[in-house]
Symmetry: C2
Subunit: 155 residues, 2 copies
């Protein structure tokens, strides 16, 4: 299982490095990846606003990257399906004034299994992923919910 | 009035260039700024995903920048108050495969006036801003709603 997570980590990093320039623009790195979910970190400097806290657009973008990663993990494989975001909502409770941490929660195993089954049987599936954003060791500063769809273009 | 918009345009550009590195990371430029609202454009290349369309996090970030700009415009001045985002939601209907365009609508004059009055009288105000995102000459691909608050830290 740990080997699986190491492989997933390498796959996600390769995918973001090669295919999503904004991951580098945010300075996003994988801090943790295990059965509970995916935590991304990003430094404040490239994500600051003119008030010295984190820019709200960066918080949404980092949370989306984390949520998307978990949706791909929950789908069980890198492809041939694609994971697309369909809805996003975020509530901002407090400023982030240190590095940014976005923790996307792995859905319950039954929910992920239903997502994979539907994708296999019908060629599409839908998954909601929650992401908490906070500063270094701080309380939750923003909450994100993303609705992702998996779509097999060959089906 | 046109002079006012030219001054606002210069002020927003200076603020983003100096204070919000992600505006440059997105490649965001002001395409239009007038009484109806603010349109930002960004090239696809830095905002692409591994599927060749625009990354959802970029769409949220660009829409947030446009919405924030309109909230600042509606507040009537650059300061001393701050404009903060409190809630964001976005619905993604179609992929964007060309340059990204985010058009934030100026609220009705009465709504903006009430926002300014409340800020002047109580030191805080709240404003909702709608932003449409599309590709070059395409239909609306994503809709964003942001709830922004204006806060005078000296009050």
């Amino acid at each position: 299982m740990d080997q699986d997570f190491a492989a997933w980590r390498a796959a996600l990093e390769a995918l973001w490095t090669e295919g999503i320039p904004q991951a580098a623009a945010l300075g996003a790195v994988i801090r943790r990846l295990d059965a509970t979910g995916l935590e991304l970190a990003a430094p404040l400097a490239p994500n600051r606003n003119h008030m010295g806290s984190a820019y709200g657009g960066s918080l949404q973008s980092l949370a989306t990257l984390a949520g998307w990663g978990v949706a791909l993990l929950a789908s069980g494989s890198i492809g041939p399906h694609q994971i697309l975001i369909r809805k996003a909502q975020m509530r901002f409770m407090a400023p982030v004034t240190t590095e940014l941490l976005a923790t996307a929660r792995m859905p319950d195993p039954g929910v992920s299994a239903a997502f994979r089954t539907r994708l296999a049987e019908r060629g599409h599936g839908r998954l909601e992923v929650g992401v908490d954003v906070r500063g270094h060791e701080g309380p939750v500063a923003a909450r994100f919910y993303g609705e992702f769809i998996a779509l097999d273009p060959g089906r």
